[in-house]
Amino acid sequence: MRFLKLYLILVISSCSIPCFSQSIDSVWVEKKSSNLSVSYISSLIYPGAKLGIELPVNAIYISKIGKSGKTKDFTKDRFVTANLSWYHHPAFNDNVYLSVGWTMRRTKSNGFLTEFSPEVGLSRTFLGGTTYQVDDNGNVSIKKCAGYYYALVSVGGGIGYDFSKTKRQPFSIFSKFNVFMLFPYNSTIYLRPVLEVGLIYKPVNFLSLKVKSKSRKK
């Protein structure tokens, strides 16, 4: 029994060491504006566009003292995003898709940012040519708006630069590589890589939401 107590004390203390090393200095609620994004998307050579909104969920301001003694400041932002995208693949299809996602963005004090964002959504394709139906008697008719609805899952990661950090300009630029999957596509799946280059506009007060922010020193 004595050994069990000792074991528990050791386990609890070993867990608490890393926890206390990430001390949270303060937590507060602040109003943050939502962001708007616009980007050019391209799958190989096929063009497209994407419009989106980023709703802030929380922000963590981290100040970390490196081995050299220098302080590194960066911010971790979390957003719920909603995007409307479209691309045109000649003779194959046009795809319009609505997606919602969770964006994890880390921005350094020098403005350099990285982000990762999984998304889910709904896609509607429009076939890349006149679509016909032929009935059993051989009568031909044109099917309007021919295409399909698909479920969509997407993951993407990218880099960018936030001009609000150094130049006090309310926008960021970014480049992202995404892969999305449509299903059920002919009873299987369809994968497509998409390269995205865009701009995030950060208005002062647009759909402002109360978010929980933290400041942390390491």
């Binding site: 708007l36 616009v38 190989l44 050579i45 096929y46 419009l51 409307l84 479209w86 693949h89 000649p90 003779a91 194959f92 299809n93 046009d94 319009v96 394709t125 429009f126 076939l127 890349g128 040519g129 006149t130 679509t131 016909y132 139906q133 032929v134 051989g138 031909v140 044109i142 099917k143 309007k144 708006c145 021919a146 295409g147 399909y148 609805y149 698909y150 059920p184 596509y185 002919n186 009873s187 299987t188 799946i189 369809y190 994968l191 497509r192």
Partner: protein
Amino acid sequence: MKQIIPFVILFFVLTSCQKEKMTIGTNVSETFYLDNNEASMRLLVEGNTASKTFLLFVHGGPGSSSYFYNTDYISQNIENKYAVVYWDQRNAGGSQGNSNGDHLNLPQMTEDLKKVIQLIKYRYGQDSGIFILGHSFGGLLTASFMTKDDNQSMVKGWIFADGSHNYPLNDTLTRQMLLTVGQQQIVLNKNVSNWKTIVDYCKKHTGSFTFEESVQLTSYAEDAETYFEEVKEIDLATLIDYDPVQYGWPVTSILFNLNYSTNASFNRDLAKTEFSTKLGVVTTPTLLLYGKYDFICPGGLEEDVFNRINTTDKKIVISPISGHNIMLQDESFFCKEVNAFIESHK
């Protein structure tokens, strides 16, 4: 709201774009789709539609794609005279759909083929002359089409290129050819270890083949033609040479469709399918082409078709340097024979 407006406009632009557009000319390239029973199948028509003569490629697989036949050589040597129709069957190439795997079967595909022909005639005129060309699995599909009802009256000619109309016979002929040629090659001391593996397998598996044996024989047959220097190898580099990006191939669609169809359960039904006993009803002029080194669909299949169809207007020709893809491996021979056949029957 302002951000949404361009997308709303785009939506109406897209839907209004799907208006009928067809071209009669000597250098046409247009894509349209046939929607049938939960599949939207891509049709690319290229070449001389003014000729009112159409060569319809019925590709292999199942699950391959007609994109592979659309070579510069065929463009320059057939499309300049006639129009060529590149049809992607359901669950293949650039064809699209949702959960439609239940409809992936031979009777459905035979109906699709009939509707493709009806659609071509609707678009380009009922007086259009159509020649169907079945390659590999396309041989089985065209045999199914030609022997059903009065379908053959819809076409002016049947071209059977490295095709198979009888899968059990196909397995028997493939085994026989692998065994015979393999033993000769071993005596000649060529690729001995590879051929020994194949010959040993053929000696152990003598007939009444299971589906798994059939798949293994096909795999050996695919390898076998690569052991002959005179046969042009068709590999990934060949396909990259096609410049799929420039020509807008939906590459991932082609790959996932191929993977799905190749492994679909209906392949087990196909393994027992034959049309030899029905070929007597065929009275349409027929051209049979095969490669000397085609182990996948050996020439005995063309000979079986030749002997059974009920027409005197038939011809069988052999490419001395080709394997299973005569249209890619012996392009000049293929185009010369196809053009001559069409010219004399259009």
